[in-house]
Symmetry: C2
Amino acid sequence: MFDLIRVLKEKGYKVTPQRIAVYDLLKGTKEHPSADMLYNKLQPLYPTMSLATVYKSLEVFKELGLVQELNVGEDKFRYDANARQHPHITCSCCGKVEDVDDEMFFDLLEQVSQKTGYELVNQKLYFFGYCPQCQKNKVSGVS
Amino acid sequence: MFDLIRVLKEKGYKVTPQRIAVYDLLKGTKEHPSADMLYNKLQPLYPTMSLATVYKSLEVFKELGLVQELNVGEDKFRYDANARQHPHITCSCCGKVEDVDDEMFFDLLEQVSQKTGYELVNQKLYFFGYCPQCQKNKVSGVS
DNA sequence: TTTGCTATTGATAATAGTTATCTTCACAAT
DNA sequence: ATTGTGAAGATAACTATTATCAATAGCAAA
């Protein structure tokens, strides 16, 4: 199991309640929240926490390779406590962001590398469409 | 052949020298420029053109489906006069943005759609790595 | 446990890309 | 030619993010 506290200590970062709170919240959700979404959710429990602290915590986690930053075409970033690169899909109707199973992408990187001559180090794959839920609502909702 | 002037007229937009200039510049380059890169390149020929006009022109082109907006993880957008969705690759060393041939992606969308249940309408695929040029420089440059 | 060093927090100012506002201008239709 | 309207240019406003800085708190050493 992954232990934030150990990693922070190992790398010479201090263990603070704020960092633990931000990380735990991100770790425990699948909704790929943005910084201000995290901030708002933390407000009730940590009413003194600053938005800047949320940003700075995320910055540290990025450096440590504990989270990844997503850009799904909004004017802000979203964050994922699963730092392993994997594709995401966004519902153009409700704005939800979900993970996509990435088994099917294994060959892809090799192919891209061969075609382009690049030495690949990373990729960001975003898909957009209408989620099953919104497809239903669309059919039943509008006559 | 594609005719900007006709499309603008058809959709009720005015044909202006500024719009033509922005579009022609974007159409004629492969470097996927940002708004300010376009602005700077236009300065010598159109010294009175405003940055706001560049943005507004791009906005119109997006609406008309003539260009697409890219986000390769910078704090600004880049633009591509090829509005057909296709993957891009960015060199993490020199910052260059290039097109990737998308033949290999045809099955992918079907697979993603099946796995997720989404009705897909779009996708943004970004790859990151070191371009052939920077790989060479790296080897020969640093001893 | 106490002390002292220093990273971190919280509050807020600054930054930068983009968008909105508003006045003036250009062009098309009458 | 005149008039109406969309567009341009200049600049203010907006917003997510980053930088600044004094006060605080984690942590190592005594």
